[in-house]
């Protein structure tokens, strides 16, 4: 009895360590990359930190949303399209509006896309059609809507709204306080929600083993729908960040498709296994920043741009394989 308890405690401690070491490792990798980048360029100061943190915002938000959905055992290939849809809606309706109105639109969009994606989660849960199929389809639909709302690049937003995400009303030259705050607050909120609330723990539970979770009396559907709602809200936040960064809207399909792929890459790199039930949101946050930093680093190293794309692809593929291997080993040892 005691021995059994002890061994399960050890196993728990081990998986806990494995989970947290990955997260810790990703943050260490990010710190190392930052230090390395600082040596590659002549000056590393406020401008660079602000630049990296604000440019990371869309991918980090998307990675947080994707992480929660993946932890719950799903995957959402429509997140990039939801970003696109928010971008188009925000740029179209925020143009020439006062800040108060812009904020109101932003809140409506976050809530609205949360509800919209909750509906998608509900459909997946009820129909039993795989997540990947349903979200692939809805992704095309949202991309189409985005083009319908904003047929060509344009629109705008309030300067104060740009300050909120970038620290400057023109979108450049501000301090890093606002972008880092805008990154940290949602990240920590979702992290706390996922680890310290009943809902968060049930999200982990259904991702780990949905049958066992149901037998244990958890409301599997509620947890699933909630994870998609958080994903949708985070995608909306990402779309708002893109409008704040550029001050315009850009409804091109490729933008959304790239964003989706990067969000999956960030989640895997962040230590959230695609089988669900493991990993921490905070790992995906660091991974998102790393993926954004790769471009300036490779460029500062003087690597030919065509090779840079290959290296970036290889890195993502390599990390995904390592992630898969770790999961496999974990499953074998369990």
């Amino acid at each position: 009895m005691m021995a059994g308890l002890r061994s399960s405690c050890v196993a728990l401690w081990r998986t806990g360590l494995a989970r947290n070491t990955w997260t810790l490792g990703v943050w260490l990798l990010l710190s190392a990359l930052l230090l390395w980048y600082a040596t590659l360029i002549p000056v590393f100061g406020q401008f660079q930190v602000t630049s990296i943190s604000k440019n990371s915002l869309p991918l980090v938000y998307l990675a947080i949303g994707q992480a929660i959905i993946v932890i719950a055992g799903g995957i959402d290939l429509s997140l990039g399209a939801l970003l696109l849809l928010t971008n188009a809606l925000a740029a179209r309706f925020m143009d020439d509006q006062p800040f108060a109105m812009v904020l109101f639109i932003a809140i409506v969009l976050i809530a609205g896309l949360g509800i919209l994606n909750a509906l998608v989660g509900y459909i997946i849960s009820v129909s039993g059609v795989p997540d990947i199929v349903v979200t692939l389809a809805t992704g095309y639909i949202w991309s189409g809507f985005a083009l319908w709302i904003l047929p060509s690049p344009g629109g705008g937003t309030a300067p104060e709204f740009r300050w909120l995400f970038t620290g400057a009303q023109s979108g450049i030259g501000g301090t890093y306080v606002m972008p880092i705050l805008m990154m940290a607050v949602p990240a920590i909120l979702v992290f706390l929600l996922s680890r310290h609330t009943r809902l968060g723990l049930s999200i982990y539970a259904i991702g780990s083993d949905s049958v066992a979770a149901r037998l244990a009396g958890l409301d599997v559907r509620r947890a699933k729908v909630s994870s998609y709602a958080i994903g949708g809200a985070m995608a909306a936040l990402a779309g708002l960040a893109t409008v704040a960064l550029t001050g315009t809207g850009d409804p091109r399909f490729s933008v959304g498709a790239n964003a989706t792929l990067n969000s999956v890459a960030a989640v895997v790199l962040g230590g959230v296994a695609l089988v669900g039930g493991t990993g921490l949101v905070l790992g995906a946050v660091a991974a998102g920043v790393i993926l954004i930093m790769l471009n300036p680093i490779l460029s500062a190293m003087g690597i030919d741009p065509n090779n840079a794309q290959i290296i970036q692809g290889l890195l993502i593929a390599g990390v995904m394989m390592v992630g898969g291997l770790v999961t496999l080993l974990r499953e074998r040892s369990a």
Binding site: L40, I41, P42, V43, F44, F47, Q48, S51, N55, P58, P151, S152, P153, A168, S170, G171, I172, G173, T242, L245, T246, G247, T248, D250, R252, S254, V255, N258, I292, N295, P296, S299, A300, G302, D304, P305, N306, A308, Q309
Partner: protein
Amino acid sequence: MKFQPTRLTVLTLLLTLALALTACVAVAPESGDDAMMEEEGGFVVGVSNTLVGNGWREQMICAIKAEATASGLVDSVVVVNRNGGPTEQIADLEGLISQGVDAIILNPTDREGLNAVIESAIAQGIVVVAVDQAVTAEGAYVATNDQTAYARLGAEWLFEQLGGSGKVVEMRGIDGVPADTDRHNGFNEALANYPDIEVVASTFTGWDPSTGAQQALDLITTQEIDGIWTSGIDYSVVEQFQVADVDFVPIVGADNNGFVEQLIQLADAGLIGAAVTNPPAIGAVGMAIALDALTGENPPHETILTPKVFTTTDPDALNAIYAPDEQVGWSTYVDIEPYTSYNGSADVSACTAPGE
């Protein structure tokens, strides 16, 4: 095997450090005036492009590199080249600023969306040149091809060829793209002066040779047509006349190598046509302007290139720009007086920046 790259990296790092230290020691005793003298040349130029795998854009980048090499004033060219929109380009431009480049040449994704980052670069003493498409940023240099004139000059030549009356086809690019809108306006400007010219069909080729070819085949086999104006989808249209065994009609295209070759070789078979230039070497023009600005020559802030028209009536001029070694899609008009200092298509095609 596993440790070799790490050792190499450490060695390189140490070597660089040592070199940097030596350089510091060597430079330190020099006076301010000497430092000013050294400003001439040794420039680092950043390039930002956000459409990868497009022939025209690749040639634009090669022209920038070739001009950098030919000028002798540039130490290195840093190209940031990936698919993306304004979000990615802002990040790329900030990366170039962080690298401490002396000048940035960009093909902008947005007319206004990049202004803040461009103005921030200018405020830090970086020369910024937008090529191909304009930006409205304060203090930026802009070098573009005149798209309205591109269409107007070609259309005027065509309407003259037809003696001011006949049925023509307008084969456009992509609906809604600024260059296509400008060209359509130019086409209509020319049309207004020729009341007896009738536009019997207007198509969107998407600037795709195979799409344009199919549309041309459908048109020439079903309708009576006296002339064709194309927005640069030209050689595949000419091929359809041969495929369908229909007599050639006067045709306007761009300075694509394949089209120029046809204009030379099919002249005896009755092909009459005009190649209007839309040079990707505008990138090299941008490089020349950037270097002028860096060396204190105060170039004008706006440079608009008026297209040249090469026609079958002047085969010598066509032969001069024809580049037998290049692909059909190669833009043959690469030497732009007085800006470029490299020598012809071969230099551009080599695509080597200083130090490469």
